[in-house]
C-alpha cells in the first residue's frame, strides 16, 4: 500500500539565543503515493536532517508532517510504519542475516512461521538465500548493502527512507545497486524518500527531485524540469556534469553584451547571466564567428570529448564528438543553440523566455 507524504512548513533550529542556527527553513513538499523523491544538495544543506525528521529520529521545531494522511509529529519512529536504509548499513553485528531481516517483524510480534516466510521471500527477491546464516562481518560491502535493503523490504512499510545508501560502495557496485533500487521500487511501488549528494543518482532514480541549499528548498520538480528548466543558477550548476556554463552580461542594442563583444540574440531585458549546457554549444570556425576564443584543455571521456574554450567572457566547456580536432591553443568560434539557452536575472533567478 503506497502512502502519501506531506511536509508542510517544516522548520528546524538548533541551539538558542544568538547561537541559534536554522538548518531547515519552512520546507514544503508533497510526495504522491508511489513516488520516488530525491533530496539532493551539498553537505550541510539540511537534507539528512529533513530525512531524520521524516523518520522521527529528530523532531521539527515547527511545521506539519503527514504520512498517509496521519499527522506524525511527536509519534515515535517505530509507530510511523517506515523503514530506513542507512549509509553505514547499521546491520546488527551479532545477528545472522536472517535475524537482521526478521528483527523488525519480531519486534512487532509477527509469529515465527510468517516471519520465516517473509525472510525467505525477501532473500529470494534479493538473491541472497545462501547468505541467510552468515553474520554481517562475513559479508562484502555489496552484500551488506543488500541485507540492509532486505531488512527494509521485509517490513512492507508505508514509506522507505534512504540515507545516502550507496556512498560506501565502489563505483561499479554503486551503478549495479542503483539499478537494483530502481527495480525494487518499481516492483514494490512503495513511496520512497532518498537522500544523496550524487546528482547522477538523483537524476536516474528520482521521479521528482528536491534540490536543497542552506536549509532552503531551491527547486522541486521532475528530473526533466530540474535539468532543462533550472529555477536558479545554483540548481543550474549543481545538476549536470560537466557543469552548465554561466556567462555574465547585459542586454544591449546588438544583443547580449558580454566581455569581448555582443552575442547576437534577443535575451529577456532583465537577463544578467546566460546559461549554456556543454551540449548546447558547438565549435565553429574562428573566422566570422560572433563569439571567439582559444582551446585551452581537451578532455576525452570516451563517449564524448569536452573542449574547454578560453574566451574574454570566461571559460566555456563544449561537448564535441570524440576525435574532433581541437589542439590546445587553436582559435575557435562558439555557436550556442540559442533555443536551449537559459537566462537568469541579477539575483540568479530563472527568467522564463
Amino acid at each position: 500500500m503506497a502512502s502519501s507524504l506531506e511536509i508542510k512548513g517544516i522548520n528546524k533550529r538548533f541551539g538558542k539565543g544568538d547561537k541559534q542556527v536554522e538548518v531547515l527553513k519552512s520546507i514544503d513538499v508533497t510526495v504522491e503515493p508511489g513516488e520516488f523523491l530525491i533530496l539532493v544538495g551539498p553537505s550541510g544543506c539540511g537534507k539528512s536532517t529533513l530525512l531524520n525528521i521524516i523518520a522521527g529520529l529528530e523532531e521539527p521545531s515547527g511545521g506539519e508532517l503527514r504520512i498517509g494522511g496521519r499527522n506524525v509529529v511527536g509519534v515515535p519512529p517505530a509507530q510511523r510504519d517506515i523503514a530506513m536504509v542507512f549509509q553505514s548499513y547499521a546491520l546488527y553485528p551479532t545477528m545472522t542475516v536472517a535475524d537482521n531481516i526478521g528483527f523488525a517483524l519480531e519486534m512487532r510480534n509477527v509469529p515465527k512461521p510468517e516471519r520465516q516466510r517473509r525472510i525467505n521471500e525477501v532473500a529470494r527477491m534479493l538473491q541472497m538465500e545462501h547468505l541467510l546464516d552468515r553474520k554481517p562481518s562475513q559479508l562484502s560491502g555489496g552484500q551488506r548493502q543488500r541485507v540492509a535493503m532486505g531488512r527494509a523490504l521485509a517490513r512492507e512499510p508505508q514509506l522507505f527512507l534512504f540515507d545516502e545508501p550507496l556512498s560506501n560502495l565502489d563505483a561499479k557496485l554503486r551503478v549495479e545497486m542503483r539499478a537494483e533500487i530502481k527495480r525494487l521500487h518499481q516492483a514494490s511501488g512503495i513511496t520512497s524518500v532518498y537522500v544523496t549528494h550524487d546528482q547522477i543518482e538523483a537524476m536516474t532514480l528520482g521521479s521528482r527531485i528536491a534540490v536543497m541549499k542552506g536549509g532552503v528548498l531551491q527547486q522541486l520538480g521532475t528530473p526533466d524540469d530540474i535539468y532543462n528548466r533550472p529555477a536558479n543558477t545554483y540548481v543550474a550548476t549543481f545538476i549536470g556534469s560537466p557543469t552548465m556554463n554561466l556567462v555574465a552580461g547585459q542586454v544591449g542594442e546588438r544583443g547580449f553584451g558580454v566581455a569581448g563583444g555582443a552575442l547576437p540574440v534577443s535575451a529577456p531585458s532583465a537577463a544578467q547571466t546566460l546559461g549554456l549546457r556543454p551540449e548546447h554549444v558547438a565549435l565553429a570556425d574562428a573566422e566570422g564567428a560572433a563569439w571567439r576564443g582559444e582551446v585551452s584543455v581537451v578532455e576525452p571521456t570516451g563517449a564524448d570529448t569536452y573542449v574547454v574554450v578560453k574566451t574574454a567572457a570566461g571559460d566555456v566547456t563544449v561537448r564535441t564528438a570524440p576525435g574532433t580536432p581541437a589542439p590546445p591553443g587553436q582559435a575557435v568560434g562558439l555557436t550556442p543553440h540559442w533555443s536551449q539557452a537559459h537566462w537568469f536575472d541579477a539575483q540568479g533567478e530563472r527568467l522564463s523566455a
Binding site: 523518520a55 522521527g56 529520529l57 523488525a104 531488512r151
Partner: protein, 286 residues
C-alpha cells in the same frame, strides 16, 4: 651478515624477556616449594631447594586447621566469605557499569557528559576518604559488619571504573545502529539486550577480570567493614600470618598465601586472552 646480527638481537630480546619472567616468577617458585617443605627442610635454609617429597600437610593446615587469632579453623571460612562477597559484587558492579555506559554513550541527555565527568572522580578518588562516611551509611542501613554491606561497598567503589570501561567501549558503536533499532521497533531495554550487550564480550571479560581481581584482593574495605564472621580471605590471611606461635610455620603461611591468590590466577588463565584482546580493541576504537 644481516641475518646473524638479526638473530643476535633476537636472542638479546629473548634474554631480557626471560630475565623479566624469572624476576616475577621467582617469588612464586619460592612460595610453591616452601609450601611443600617440612619445618626441618625450611630450617636447613636453602630457599631455592626443592622439597624432599610432595607433602600437602601445610596446605591442609592452611585450609582447615591453622589458627587465625583464637580460632583454629584455617582459611576455609574466610575463603567462603570471599566467594559469597565477590561473586555478587562482581556481577552487580559489571551489570551496573554496562547499563551506565550504555546510557552515557548511546542515550546521551542534557548534562550526561558532566555527569560522566563527576563519575570519573570515583575512579581516581582514594578510597580511604570514604571509609568513615561509608561506615556511617552502612550503620544507617543496618548492614554494618555483614557480607551484604561489603557487597554494597564494592558495588559502589567499582561502579565508576566499570562505567568508564563500558562507556568508552560503547562510544565506538555508531549511532545509526541505535536509530535502525528504534525504527525497527525496539525500545531502550530491547536494544540493550538484543543488540548492544551481545556485542560486549571483549569489554565484559575485561571488566569481570578487573572487578574480580580488585574485589577478591581488597584488604582495605575487608578490614574496615567486616565483622567477626564476615571477614574476607585477605583479612584471614593477614590474621593467619600474624598469629604468633612458638614456631613460625612458613610452609603454612606460603600455602595460605597461595590459596588466597589462586582464584584470581585461575580467572586470569581462563579469561586472560580476552583481557588483552579487549584492552587493545578499546584502544584502537576508543
Amino acid at each position: 651478515m644481516t641475518h646473524s646480527s638479526f638473530s643476535w638481537a633476537r636472542w638479546a630480546v629473548y634474554g631480557v624477556l626471560l630475565l623479566a619472567a624469572l624476576f616475577f616468577l621467582a617469588p612464586l617458585y619460592v612460595m610453591l616449594v616452601t609450601s611443600f617443605k617440612t619445618a626441618e627442610e625450611i630450617r636447613a635454609g636453602n630457599l631455592l631447594a626443592l622439597p624432599g617429597a610432595l607433602r600437602w600437610d601445610a596446605w591442609s593446615a592452611a585450609w582447615g586447621s591453622a589458627c587465625t587469632g583464637v580460632d583454629c579453623a584455617g582459611l576455609k571460612p574466610f575463603f567462603m566469605n570471599s566467594v559469597v562477597m565477590t561473586v555478587p559484587a562482581v556481577l552487580l558492579s559489571t551489570a551496573w557499569g554496562a547499563l551506565n555506559g550504555y546510557v552515557l554513550s548511546l542515550w546521551k541527555f542534557r548534562g550526561s557528559e558532566v555527569l560522566f565527568g563527576f563519575l570519573l572522580f570515583g575512579v581516581f578518588m582514594p578510597f580511604q576518604v570514604v571509609l568513615l562516611p561509608m561506615s556511617q551509611v552502612l550503620g544507617w542501613l543496618g548492614l554494618s559488619s555483614s557480607i551484604a554491606g561489603l557487597v554494597l561497598v564494592h558495588l559502589l567503589a567499582g561502579m565508576a571504573g566499570t562505567t568508564l570501561f563500558f562507556r568508552n567501549f560503547y562510544v565506538a558503536v555508531p549511532a545509526e545502529l541505535i536509530n535502525a533499532a528504534r525504527i525497527d521497533g525496539a525500545g531502550f531495554w530491547r536494544i540493550f539486550w538484543r543488540i548492544i550487550f551481545p556485542m560486549s564480550t571483549p569489554i565484559l571479560m575485561v571488566t569481570l577480570i578487573w572487578q574480580f581481581t580488585n574485589i577478591w584482593n581488597d584488604f582495605l574495605f575487608g578490614v574496615a567493614f567486616s565483622g567477626a564472621d564476615s571477614k574476607p580471605i585477605t583479612v584471614g590471611l593477614n590474621n593467619l600470618a600474624n598469629t604468633s606461635s612458638s614456631v613460625k610455620a612458613y610452609n603454612v603461611d606460603m600455602a595460605a598465601a597461595l590459596i588466597a591468590g589462586l582464584p584470581t590466577m585461575i580467572v586470569y588463565m581462563l579469561a586472560g586472552q580476552y583481557f588483552v584482546r579487549g584492552l587493545t580493541a578499546g584502544a584502537v576504537k576508543g
